[in-house]
């Protein structure tokens, strides 16, 4: 009987090969980031998509707020920041890290707080 159960489990396992499940995590939503403020996602495998949507905001001196993205490994070493034009309000980091966490940061030189609609990461970029 036990042998029969093991065989059945093996057959079922072979019939359904391992599939990497898609996941996504919003790690900031509808909040303000002060200059230099940041947030991390939780630790994840196969991060390959990271995005931030924020409200672009420039003053009369044409200084604009800027958000930037990175991926960090377990040694807390992060890739260089991806940041778009200072007048953009949407940036994606399409790089990959096998295991790590996503980072979403307001530039330290921002003249004002930045309203962030979302910082979101996933493994949907494969």
């Amino acid at each position: 009987m036990r042998r029969w159960i093991l065989a059945s489990v093996a057959v079922v396992a072979l019939a359904f090969p391992t599939v990497a499940l898609a996941w996504a995590q919003w790690y900031s939503a509808n909040t303000y980031f002060g200059a230099g403020g940041f947030n991390y996602s939780s630790w994840q495998s196969s991060l390959n998509f990271n995005e931030v949507q924020y409200e672009p905001d420039c003053n009369l001196l044409r200084e604009c707020v800027r958000m930037q993205l990175s991926l960090c490994n377990t040694s807390d070493s992060c890739y260089g920041y991806v940041g778009a034009s200072i007048t953009s309000g949407y940036v994606q980091d399409l790089r990959t890290i096998a295991y790590g966490k996503a980072k979403c940061q307001a530039h330290s030189a921002n003249w004002n707080q930045t309203y962030v609609y979302r910082c979101r990461t996933s493994n949907e970029g494969a």
Binding site: C64, Y81, L94
Partner: protein, 191 residues
């Protein structure tokens, strides 16, 4: 004394005309995005990236995919972009970055017909500056604290390898068909 005022006033007017007056920008057109052949969505641009960008600028993903064009190639891969009906622009650097500029921000933020982004790439790569520019942008220079390099414009795009770390202060100076010039801040220094 009067001649001094006249001289200063004249210089001020010339300076304002050269650097402060705003040219037509993206609503004037990005002709490469109409004239270059359509490309199938490349493997290096994940569908989620185009889908999320399309949602941000408010167009269906199918619309964004059919409007996608390959503008240039460089050390970090190919540069693609699409422009929506309302002139919003999204650009993608293969497996590196994506970003969008929405048309409703053009006026409020005084967008100068130049849409740049810095890609630091992976740690073993040289950072690059990529940009989509409007038809009326004739010449461009990448300006850093220590250097000013001419950047070629092809297919309404700039793709320049940067010498520094990628986190230095970087500006783009552009010259329009009218001869006016503008300094476009790309990124402040530091993180």
């Amino acid at each position: 004394m009067i001649s001094l005022f006249v001289a200063v006033g004249g210089f001020g007017t010339a300076f304002a005309a050269r650097y402060l007056t705003d040219p037509a920008g993206f609503p004037a057109g990005i002709s490469a995005l109409r004239t270059l052949p359509a490309v199938p969505l490349p493997e290096s641009i994940p569908p989620v990236a185009v889908g999320a960008a399309a949602a941000y600028v408010g167009v269906p993903i199918e619309n964004a995919e059919t409007r996608l064009r390959r503008l240039r190639s460089g050390s970090q891969g190919d540069l693609y972009a699409f422009q929506a009906e309302d002139a919003s622009v999204c650009l993608f650097l293969a497996r590196r970055l994506g970003t969008c500029l929405r048309a409703d921000h053009f006026v409020r933020l005084n967008v100068p017909g130049v849409f740049p982004a810095i890609s630091p790439g992976y740690p073993d790569e040289q950072p690059v500056l990529v940009a989509v520019v409007a038809d009326d942008v004739r010449r461009a220079w990448v300006v850093t604290a220590s250097d000013q390099q001419a950047a070629s414009i092809r297919n309404n795009a700039i793709y320049a390898t940067l010498a520094g770390s990628g986190s230095d202060r970087i500006d783009l100076e552009v010259e329009y068909e009218s001869g006016k010039r503008k300094l476009v801040p790309v990124q402040p220094g530091g993180d």
